[in-house]
Amino acid sequence: MREFGYLRPTGVAEAVELLAADPGARYLAGGTNLVDLMKLGVERPRLLVDLGRLPLRDIGPTGDGGLRIGALARNADLAADPRVRASYPVLSQALLAGASGQLRNVATTAGNLLQRTRCPYFQDTAKPCNKRLPGTGCPAREGVHRDLAVLGASEHCVATHPSDLAVALAVLDATVELLGPDGARTLPVTDLHRLPGDRPDLEHRLLPGELITAVTLPPPAPGARSAYRKARDRASYAFALASVAAVLVVRGSRVERVGIAFGGLAAKPWRARTAEAMLLGASADEASFRAAAEAELAAARPLRDNGHKVPLARNLAVRVLSDLALESVR
């Protein structure tokens, strides 16, 4: 059988060292995605560096009133955290919309951010896939793609990022803390993932050996309301057809601050900068929200069978923003 090494370091620096020393090594956190992919033969690590013993599970306040989430915080724990529920409802809602109770009990914050696409061609090693084997092609473009990307895709790849959590973190302006062989640095969550371009195998901007140690959230803006809305065909345990995370501050009847991110539409959480720019200072009403969503989604390039995602995402955005605006004036 395919043998692999397995190590359980107790220190963060040790984990980084182990991974940096072996290009065939992979970090193992909750294992809800990596182990599946190993069984499918998509991932073939030579060494697993199990992070389970690292002290990265805490969720605690930051000096400026934000929240610092350890990379290994479990999705279930994070969703239930009273501070998250009170100040960042969008995050709690996104977590609870993802996976199943069993999976949330073991899946981790950083693992969730770095999970791989559920594109059926990526998961089937008997088929070509540019993401899995660069240069082999993308059969999804002509094949079964009704759940795949409409934004930011390329001729080389139309995969989507499956995470709900990532969409919420993107709209919250979260930062990931990284530790690598060359030291520590931070990266905005919105810069963590890459669009496919001609290298769909490169999915994120981590350097070799780099480990996400924490995710930090800035303090919530005064008066901010936030929500996550996910559309899916099954009432539980299904990836998003499209999802929206939004944060809104309304002053008077005007939009003072706004953040919008889409899930299920692209290879990364899609921060809707065009829509946000249009809405700043605009009237906080359904017509503005619709115009902004449509402007953002004008960039969509649907394939044969996934055009339904565009009006769906627009409707979800209009609904979430309208509901938040209504809440704000109450």
């Binding site: 059926p120 094949g143 079964v144 559309a231 899916r232 099954r234 539980s236 990836f239 057809l241 769906l312």
Partner: protein, 687 residues
């Protein structure tokens, strides 16, 4: 009516129950199949990959044991270089551990002479033909009167085409087998709905007398028809065990099930109804296009229920099929009835709208006196009682028929109804009932309890005949060294095995009537119902039911959610309340799943079903079925069997999909004629 807990319930929830892949004979090794990666062609070379000490064998068509013809080409595994569909097995790896077998299987390199394939079902396919008969032995075509003339002359006409894609059985327990040879005797533990059928097939394939094959299936984790016959897993396990001289375990990975264990074939169904303004049907046509593989003809008999349901002077029901380079379809819970009644009952809803009639009333008006196509009287038919009782329980009265007008905030709400039917099938079986000297009784019959509660019900049948408390009755099922039991399929198990148990228990009761003491070795009676069942009947025998559904549709997203599902059934005498309700509710849940969730796509380029895991092939979970209720009307049908009962395994699914889709129409005004009714089929229209 009794309300008895499942006899094996404790064993199941404590993990004591042993399934086919739980067997660990000493020295057991593991097999993993290698699926074809082309849709059509020939294997030209097989490279087993790097040598690995834990790999015991890599079998291919060149060196696998030769098998005799058992009449099922899907079981002729590794017998030729031909590849009939993607996912067909082209090699088998046997290794010391499951992990080693899986890894080695992934290392096997197969080369093919690939040929162009044909996997897309289109209505004008040049290969479409009329089969001799459809599944179940039904004639492919039935014609009464001149449909064209009657249709043209009618006041109201409905002409609609409905589509259902392939559907997959996906039982919780995958298809698994553990096989062991002792000389020329073969023992298999097989996840099967019918051990005797598997025994006969294995005996034929391996050229053995049947009594040298023992098939054990004590616990089976569901099947829905896919385990109704021997599948490739048991043949491969037996083959591998013979080659390596050790017991072999083989559990098919879930991703391989869609290609290897059968599935519900896709159907394109045109229904035409001609009626007067009063809703009375004058002519009915139901025409099916379906497909099968090049290996084997299987014709989903979806037009057959239209021959049973409604009065019409003129009728045309036909089946057409095309053979393509796809996996072979087979039985899936209520083959024919489940897809056929989706179309027919949707069309009835369209007719009700067209003539401004309540859909319950429309069905009552079209109730036939005799079975329309055969002219036979019904042994019993309580459809009208089901419709009325269902309407009462559901709260149907006062329903506003207008579509798309009930809003609750951003939601649209609607209700729908559909009728259901399923034939009464009974097969010959044998059973033994023994009185023990300690006052206990033992029932022995090779029934397959696939989660239906069969052993519980059969013990109750014996207890009732013997007039003893049920806790004095033990039962043995699931072994071919027990008296012959027919397959657990076609909702026939309880009637078939139960009749034999009833007969044997009745004879034993006669022997015990004098009050003589039971001898030390016990006293037993056997029965074989071949004669009794074979006598035939002058009656049309079917179970009936009515399903009512309430749905909500989100106007922003098009997401459809089921709120309530209520079914009332007439299925003869209900023998055990608890397991019966569970079966009916289970069928309805599966029907709701078919209506709203289950979707499989044939990839045109690769020729395989794309959704091959339970993350992408959506089956209903608890959150999708918040409120499902099953009831029944009193009915005891002695024209069927001495038990007075009809089958209940399948009728729950029939009609449910149409009730749900009809409710979506009532909610939104949109008629979705293709399953599943997912948001993308509604979304833009609602935006």
């Amino acid at each position: 009516m009794t309300d008895h807990v499942r006899l094996e319930g404790r064993a199941k929830v404590t993990g004591a129950a042993r399934y086919a892949d739980d067997r660990r004979p000493p020295g057991a090794v593991h097999a993993c199949p290698v699926p074809a990666t082309v849709a059509r062609g020939e294997v030209t070379a097989v490279d087993p990959g790097p040598a690995d000490r834990s790999v015991l064998a890599v079998l291919t068509h060149l060196d696998a044991p030769r098998l005799a013809d058992a009449g099922d080409p899907t079981l002729a595994v590794l017998q030729s270089a031909r590849v009939a569909h993607r996912g067909q097995i082209v090699a088998l790896v046997v290794a010391e551990t499951p992990e080693a077998a899986r890894h080695a299987a992934a290392q096997v390199r197969v080369e093919y002479a690939e040929e162009p394939h044909d996997v897309t079902l289109v209505e004008d396919h040049p290969g479409v033909y009329a089969p001799e008969e459809a599944n179940g032995g039904h004639p492919a075509d039935r014609v009464r009167g001149d449909f064209g003339a009657a249709y043209a002359a009618a006041e109201l006409r409905i002409d609609a085409t409905y589509r259902i894609g392939p559907l997959h059985n996906h039982p919780m327990e995958p298809h698994a087998s553990t096989a062991e040879w002792q000389g020329d005797r073969l023992t298999v533990h097989d996840s099967s709905q019918g051990g005797h059928g598997v025994r006969k097939t294995l005996a034929t394939l391996f050229g053995l007398p049947e009594d040298q094959v023992l098939v054990v299936n004590e616990h089976v984790g569901g099947g829905f028809g896919s385990k109704g016959t021997a599948r490739p897993n048991v043949v491969l396990a037996a083959m591998a065990a013979r080659v390596v001289g050790r017991p072999v375990r083989l559990a098919l990975p879930r991703a391989q099930l869609p290609a290897l264990v059968g599935h519900r074939a896709p159907t394109v169904q045109r229904v035409r109804l001609a009626a007067g303004r009063d809703g009375r049907i004058e002519a009915l046509a139901h025409e099916i296009l379906t497909r099968s593989s090049t290996l084997k003809e299987f014709v989903e008999q979806a037009a057959v229920p239209a021959r049973v349901m409604y009065r019409s002077a003129v009728s045309l029901t036909t089946h057409r099929v095309v053979r393509q380079d796809v996996p072979t379809p087979s039985w899936m819970r209520a083959p024919g009835e489940a897809p056929g009644m989706f179309a027919l009952e949707s069309a009835m809803d369209e007719l009700a709208s067209a003539c401004g009639l309540d859909p319950v009333e429309l069905r009552l008006r079209n109730e036939p006196e005799v079975e329309p196509d055969s002219g036979k009287p019904f042994s019993s038919r309580s459809l009208t009682a089901c419709l009325r009782e269902g309407a009462r329980r559901f709260g149907w009265a006062g329903r506003d028929p207008r579509p798309g007008v009930r809003r609750e905030g951003r939601l649209l709400v609607g209700t729908g109804v559909a009728a259901s039917t399923y034939p009464v099938l009974i097969a010959p079986s044998s059973a033994e009932v023994r009185a023990e000297p300690d006052g206990g009784y033992l029932v022995r019959v090779n029934a397959a309890d696939i989660g239906t509660g069969a052993r519980t019900v059969l013990a109750l049948v014996a207890a009732e005949v013997l007039a003893v408390p049920s806790d004095r009755v033990r039962i043995e099922v699931g072994r071919t060294d027990l008296p012959y039991g027919s397959v657990a399929g076609g909702s026939s198990g309880t009637s078939s095995w139960g009749w034999a148990v009833h007969e044997a228990a009745t004879r034993l009761r006669g022997r015990l009537a004098g009050g003589a003491p039971v001898p030390a070795r016990g006293l037993s009676e056997r029965a074989d119902t071949r004669e009794l069942v074979g006598r035939g009947t002058e009656f049309a025998r079917h179970a009936f039911g009515a399903q009512f559904a309430e749905v909500q549709v989100d106007t922003d997203s098009g997401e459809v959610r089921l709120r309530r599902l209520l079914g009332v059934f007439a299925a003869g005498r209900i023998l055990n309340v608890r397991t019966a309700r569970s079966q009916l509710v289970g069928g309805m849940v599966m029907g709701a799943s078919m209506a709203l969730l289950e979707e499989s796509t044939m990839d045109p380029g690769f020729g395989d079903h794309t959704e091959r895991d339970l993350a992408s092939y959506h089956v209903a979970v608890s959150a999708d079925v918040p409120d499902v209720q099953a009831y029944w009307v009193e009915e005891e049908d002695t024209h069927v069997s001495p038990l007075g009962s009809k089958g209940i395994g399948e009728i729950g699914i029939v009609g449910t999909a149409a009730a749900v889709a009809n409710a979506v129409h009532h909610a939104t005004g949109l008629r979705v004629r293709e399953l599943p009714v997912v948001s993308r089929r509604l979304g833009e229209a609602l935006a």
